[in-house]
Symmetry: C2
Subunit: 211 residues, 2 copies
DNA sequence: AACGGTATTGGACTTTGGGCCAACACCCGC
DNA sequence: GCGGGTGTTGGCCCAAAGTCCAATACCGTT
């Protein structure tokens, strides 16, 4: 386990509002805070990107149309930088192509003003749920990768070949060494990866390869 | 392998057009045929649902707004009946909520009239690619399920426990039988499932459970 | 030059997994 | 009732995997 996981801030889950219209931001903030959510607001895409909020647990409420970088561009930039915060768009106009692109790019919802309060709240709750799940999965994936990274190059080779179902003797032949050697590596692999059965090892290898 | 797989018709890939406007259908058909696609058209959602086209390789081009069952309802009905044909919506008006619902329900694209011909063709090519892939995966999944279904109840139990990484003796203890018995079942499982290593068996079990 | 991490191999021994042959009990349909 | 599928168990033997202890060799660092 590496010391820094780039995922601190167990801080309360926060809704990040990105909208250039100050009155909208005020209204949304009041509504969300009244419903028990932490809110942090940004007047532009750039402002959010330069914040450290990218790796928190929370969700984004983005106005589609903004001066400078618009909502879709912000979404693309976030994806580019591996930010996995769920995104909910808010739009005043009815731009279907933008809607299609937004949802296909992974946006969770796309609300058009005016919208029902409850609709927004439901979307946010759903987004926070998803973010929690994603975070859990991401942490598990990182733990997997850490364990695999702790293997020596040779052990990694052996690990993958064991995972593909080869016998020790086949692995030995393939790597040009003795079966005995493979047994040693294999034992170390099982120990370092903290798995007690081949089945667990196979699943771990698959998870690693599934990206 | 069961004799009938419910997936015949290796017929040429077909674009199914569902639109109540005869002139639109004519125009689309001409365009698509001119670009080398097979086209079959339906004047209503009900007409398509009662056809046998549900299990073909192809894709659907659905008009969002139709008298009777509309596009979204048709999409829902198809999903209900496990039809996996990729869906592309065509809409004259700009109904954002419908767009959101359509895309979230798995629609591949949502084109608004008027659209670029090339945009439509690209969407269709993408849809057909996806349908081919899905079909391949579905056939593979069916083959897996067939093999698993050929196991006796006891063999299924043993199979799952082996897949979870237990030793023969642990399985025997858990099932209240002798280790020798498990060995026999296990051998039959490996044979019936046509796997040669525990790794393959684990992956097969996971695929079955992944639904 | 000494040291630690890595890769390698050997031997001896135990545990597990598999293959082959045979056998018995149960239940169901013909 | 008999035949066949299913579940069960035994013995014998071999292959594969895992364990413990020990040893050599290379490489880069201190």
């Amino acid at each position: 386990m590496t010391p820094k996981m780039a995922l601190e801030k167990p801080a309360p889950e926060t809704v990040f509002v990105v909208d250039d219209d100050a009155s909208v931001v005020r209204g949304l903030s009041r509504l969300l805070r009244a419903n028990g959510f932490e809110v942090e607001s940004f007047a532009s895409a750039a402002a959010f990107l330069s914040s450290d909020a990218r790796d928190c647990v929370g969700c984004l409420l983005i106005d589609l149309r903004m001066p400078g970088m618009n909502g879709l561009e912000l979404q693309a930039a976030l994806r580019e930088s591996n930010c996995t915060l769920p995104v909910i768009f808010i739009s005043g106009n009815t731009d279907v192509p933008a809607t299609v692109q937004a949802i296909r790019s992974g946006a969770l919802d796309f609300l058009t003003k005016p919208f029902q309060e409850e609709q927004l709240l439901a979307a946010i709750r759903s987004a926070l749920d998803r973010c929690r799940d994603a975070r859990t999965r991401r942490l598990a994936a990182l733990a997997d990768q850490d364990r695999f990274a702790s293997l020596t190059p040779r052990e990694k080779e052996v690990c993958l070949l064991v995972g593909s179902g080869l016998l020790n003797k086949q692995i030995a032949w393939q790597l040009g060494t003795a079966e005995k050697t493979i047994k040693v590596h294999r034992a170390r692999v099982m120990e370092k990866l903290a798995v007690v059965s081949v089945a667990e090892l196979v699943r771990l290898v698959d998870r690693l390869g599934a990206r």
